[in-house]
Symmetry: C2
Subunit: 736 residues, 2 copies
């Protein structure tokens, strides 16, 4: 990384925003979390960038294209970051090669792979070529360096795409060479993780160097000199041949569009310079605006993890405003919600805190999707809804926005969309959108085992119903508010008081259609599950803590404060409960456990919250390629890190931050309204993790929580930290 | 028409098929049924042609584009025929104008409008220009004639489309002038009658005359000399200006594609000649192949109505093989099923009889849609399922195909798709696909009034279940066959024996969720309904006859043969039952009554079948613009006419033709397998409508029905007709 970091510092043209206090770009390392299941995208893009240009490696079955070991095929222009499930995108692949082209196999081993903010670079040892990549919102710049020779080639493969299980399928492609410096075309693909409708990635590319020769291919049949391959549902491609001197560079501006080749051409024009560093500088500048929202005092290592986490949180969803091929609208348009079940908990609350206008834009986009596609998405990609993991968790986003005072949102329409989620069964396929199994939920009060993910659904629906009640109450719709508040207690209908585990009684448990419980000996419910199981990406021990909206009742069900605290202690300390899968009961790597460490706050034990959070930050995050504890899930893991590093964490859907343990002695959050929230944490260190006292704007804050509305206009939050638990916060808290 | 007919005869290059016995093209009058609700498309196309080029008139809110009175805006290249509901298509509009262009209003009154097979022609009096249009499968030829002047223009409006209620919405467009003779681009539209996903109509056009000038526009802002308007979700267009002498022609070849402009260019190349008459001759030739399948002896007026009806039956669905933008497949691909609820009764059985390979292709296409989109469609247009009117009536097509021995169909897959229809609830929106209300139907045995169209759904589902049983039985799946045979009796669950009307007891009646009947005084059930009502496009008197698969039980429920006959008599003779809406109880204008005239055969009264059928043919069909008794519904009304003119009618889904009353003394059906079915009807006339006797291949046929398998290998069917009812057929018939 050092070489890149040095390059960065020399970028004199980088203009910082008014808030900038340091060159924060240097702390972003796009390789953090690319491996070890993090699946983070290591290529170049701007915040929420539609274009994500990076390498596609190995068997092209890695979610972000990049793979530790495999050969590099080339550099495609659209990717996702941090996802699990099947692949999506990896379209419009370019590669610099030499010699005769084998369309079946042109991949190359790599050398000297590097990445920095707005830059990915690598050498392809098979060809002795190298590539530097950078990107703006709808365009990518590829700068290739060739050896001396008459057969240096840039290939454009429109038959390339990522594919694993839940796979993408090729539909069609077209290519048209316009001149010896210009080419356009598209790839059309269907399927992928969200089992989506076909999407078409159009491109237009311009090269700074005229090609000596060119040609195209279709279904691997090469046709030298042929300029056009029209769409016959076959794989096409093209190549430009150059006579190069050693070290000669050929640069391409590539515009990408989901509308047309014409729009792609206009998008390429957003790159006004042919100078790679200038374009990269523009990319970095956009990132600096985000990074400078939070300026922290810490070690370089701390900053590296922190700012890279912040960077990761802003990779998705993707701002496709002006690029909606499905309807014309003046509303913003975002895609690649991947999935809201992952991101409603930490990522979106982070947007609300740092970039509320962007968050409002996303919510407006969700409402526009509802108006045109019938449901707000949980997952959405390639302009199609798909993959509801748990609840209709977009509901939570609107409750969260409402209680935090987000402007510019049609909340009446939001309530309508949320009620549709709650009332209208999506039918086949219930994995696509809406609430699967609500026929049960709305009549029996729980989703019975005749539906998959019955446990996760019931628990999430209860929280989503609370979100509806929250918004309905705000909009003065008393009857609706009461109706959904009542429904929000439905989680209790799958609480089986007779189930016992590790000395604790009462767990959520599968319930049959006829109302009876599933066999009480069936401990698979404690083993974790996936799509077809009772619980999704969690197990009953963990999910039995997941009642973010009704903690008071949960604590009572668990036998009161003391017993609840002991249950939490067991959850966080019990090891190797299942030798096949779990090291500990608590795993931060999946979202259902995200809130659990802060539940200690509800029983007056913020010291335990601090311990668990600090341990997790320390042990599960680092600055290596394996530095993220699981699929980053569109920045979810990263947003969790960002919040807790600052010392608090949202209970999404509520006007509430739970205090954990600030890690920086000082952090300034530059709010969008021009105000600053200054967070001071006296004596904060790896040892001094316990809050001794807190002041908010000079007034003592005895509670272990505060409201978003308390800090929305800035202020000073002063912590005093120590190495021992204190009496601070011992009153705990109850639900609103 | 005469001028055109004379032109036709002079087309010396028309090569007839081996079976051709006369120039049948002359009998096709595309203007029959365009008005009076027929909504037939009067423009030019080939059989199942993807391109249907014709005028868009008036407020552009007529389903086929054409309107009796309004001005003509121009000539767009994609239309549907005979439909009701909201409009679809009307895309990529060309017009020949003169003088300054007003993009808001360039429509013109018309003069000398004419149409013939493969030809539409008209003069635009505002401009003193004229147009001749013809088409091949994926391309149209427009031949424009201009007056003398320096400002003759051809405009291409990519913002134009048809829109009424259930309307289409504009999404985007793009246009690119390639040279002074070439242009390409697209229009993207969503919605329309099937509330479909966006579809994109790409085009490429080449002119035989170089333009003197050209320009483009976006959102009505004209930009002379500007070649490209890229997609910004706005309406775009272009114009070519010519300096013309009086009477100078400019001809355009227009390729249309749903994939890309590149494919559109290839499609334009299917027109190998620039000579309009040559291209039109190719179009006519394709039609002659269809028309010559049936050669009848009759009066010119008879032939005109008959061959135009045959022509209308072959307008839809549309063969889009090679033009599927949603998946790559080697299977045939058909679109514009509009809707199968309309066409399964007569249109598809006609395809099975005359062009079984085409019918098999359509069924393969339905299965390919099932595989990729999850359900077989009832309605489908613009590559998206939408609008289930009654049952999942594609089920009937497969039973029909199976019992009639259609080859090349994966019947196991068909059964799977049919069972999905029957078992998996489509959820929101239940109008899109599958069976709405099956949660009720599969548990209670009927669709309760909590669902819309509960009556129509229950009745159609019962028949569809019979189709499943039929195929399951054929595939030796005994348990499945029994299950669905049992379910096929479900229609009895909404038969209310206590409802009395006009002296008859027992009618289908709305039933509530709790099992009780709707108020017995609610006679709205006898008034006809639409989407949200109990019965769709019918009323209880009519629908209480609709049990095509269980006639024996129905006759019993109605009190036996005598009483059933009296009930039919009342249905066919009672007049002005509801003065607001009905002239008679029986109206051929909607499909639920299609089979009813032949039900007399089931009780041994084929004489009454003959009377009703002949009366309907005589009184409700003619050769005028209002010559079709209702929306032609993708040729449904026309197919009904074709069958009954020949003297028999299918009970779709069963290996069964019911004999009515042949109108031609002789008709030869040239089957696809090379065999001929010769139908002779001695003494057949307007007076001699009663069958006196029948012989099939020389053997007496005493039954008033025969099997498809009896005539699939050709043969001779000899009727002797008379002016009085005879004893023939009095034994009636029972269900298989």
């Amino acid at each position: 990384m050092n070489r890149i970091a040095l390059n960065m510092i020399s970028l004199a043209f980088v203009v910082f925003t008014a808030n900038a206090q340091s060159d924060l770009a240097q702390y972003v390392d796009p390789f953090i979390g690319v491996d070890g299941g993090g699946n983070v995208f290591p290529g170049a893009c701007v915040p929420f960038g539609m274009v994500k240009v990076g390498p596609d490696c190995g068997n092209k079955d890695w979610n972000a294209g990049w793979d530790r070991d495999g050969n590099i095929h080339g550099f495609s222009n659209v990717h996702v970051s941090g996802t699990g499930g099947g692949c999506k995108y990896g379209n419009v692949l370019f590669a610099p090669i030499t010699g005769e082209l084998d369309t079946h196999n042109y991949s190359s081993p790599r050398k000297n792979e590097n990445a920095a903010l707005g830059l990915y670079e690598v050498e392809l040892s098979r060809y002795n070529t190298s590539a530097r990549l950078t990107a703006l919102q709808h365009s990518a710049m590829h700068e290739y360096t060739f050896p001396a020779g008459d057969d240096s080639k840039i290939i454009i493969d429109l038959g390339s795409f990522l594919a694993s299980h839940e796979r993408q399928y090729f539909v069609g492609s077209e290519v048209r060479i316009l001149s010896n410096t210009e080419i356009e075309g598209y790839t059309r693909i269907r399927g992928g993780w969200n089992i989506g409708e076909p999407y078409t990635v159009y491109f237009y590319a311009q090269f700074d160097t005229p090609a000596a020769e060119y040609g195209t291919w279709k279904s691997h049949k090469q046709m030298p000199g042929e300029k056009v391959q029209y769409d016959t549902n076959e794989m096409t491609g093209a190549y430009f041949t150059y006579h190069t001197q050693a070290g000669q560079k050929v640069t391409a501006k590539i515009g990408i569009s989901y509308l047309s080749t014409g729009k792609a051409r206009m998008n390429a024009a957003e790159m006004t310079s042919w100078d790679f560093d200038t374009v990269r500088g523009e990319c970095v500048k956009q990132w600096e605006k985000i990074l400078n929202k939070v300026v922290v005092k810490g070690t370089d290592e701390q900053k590296k993890i922190f700012y890279t986490a912040l960077y990761h949180a802003y990779l998705q969803p993707v701002d496709k405003t002006g690029e909606n091929s499905k309807w014309a609208s003046d509303e913003p348009y975002y895609d690649d919600f991947y999935c809201i079940w992952d991101t409603f908990r930490a990522t979106h609350p982070l947007f609300t805190l740092l970039t509320p206008t962007k968050q409002a834009d996303m919510l407006r986009s969700l409402l526009d999707i509802y108006k045109h596609d019938g449901y707000m998405p949980d997952g959405r990609s390639g302009d199609d809804n798909g993959r509801v993991q748990g609840g209709s968790n977009s509901d939570i986003l609107f409750a969260d926005a409402y209680v935090k005072g987000l402007k510019g949102i049609d909340y009446e329409l939001a309530l309508e969309a949320m009620i549709k989620n709650a009332e209208v069964a999506p039918g086949d396929d219930e994995r696509k959108e809406g609430r699967g199994g609500i026929t049960d939920y709305n009549t029996k009060g729980y989703v019975s085992t005749r539906y998959e993910r019955a446990g996760t659904r019931t628990m999430e629906y209860a929280n989503c119903d609370y979100a509806i009640a929250t918004l309905a109450k705000g909009l003065k719709k008393k009857d609706l508010a009461e109706k959904y508040l009542l429904r929000s207690h439905n989680w209790q209908n799958i609480w089986n008081p007779n189930i016992e585990s590790l000395g604790f009684k009462g767990f959520i448990w599968p319930r049959l259609e006829n109302g009876s419980w599933m066999n009480e000996d069936d401990y698979s419910v404690f083993q974790g599950g996936t799509w077809p199981d009772f619980l999704y990406e969690t197990f009953s021990w963990e999910m039995s803590f997941y009642v973010p909206h009704d903690m008071k009742s949960l604590i009572e069900k668990c036998g009161g404060k003391e017993q609840f605290t002991r249950r939490l202690d067991t959850y966080f300390t019990h090891e190797r409960w299942d030798q096949r899968w779990f090291m500990g009961l608590f795993q931060i790597s999946n979202e259902p456990g995200f809130l659990t460490p802060t539940l200690y706050n509800y029983v007056g034990r913020p010291d335990r919250t601090a311990e668990i959070v600090r341990q997790t930050l320390r042990e599960r995050y680092n600055s290596t390629k394996e530095g993220i504890p699981g699929n980053d899930d569109s920045g979810s893991m990263s947003a969790w890190y960002v919040f807790h590093s600052l010392g608090f964490y949202p209970n999404a859907g509520q006007n509430l931050y739970l205090i954990s343990s600030p890690t920086f002695e000082e952090a300034s959050i530059y709010l969008e309204n021009g105000k600053t929230l200054l967070i001071k944490a006296k004596r904060a260190s790896e040892k001094n993790i316990y809050v001794q006292s807190v002041k908010l704007n000079g007034e003592p804050l005895d509670d272990c929580f505060f409201r978003h509305t308390d800090i929305a206009n800035g202020g000073i939050l002063e912590f005093v930290m120590g190495s021992k638990p204190s009496k601070w916060g011992i009153n705990g808290m109850i639900n609103e």
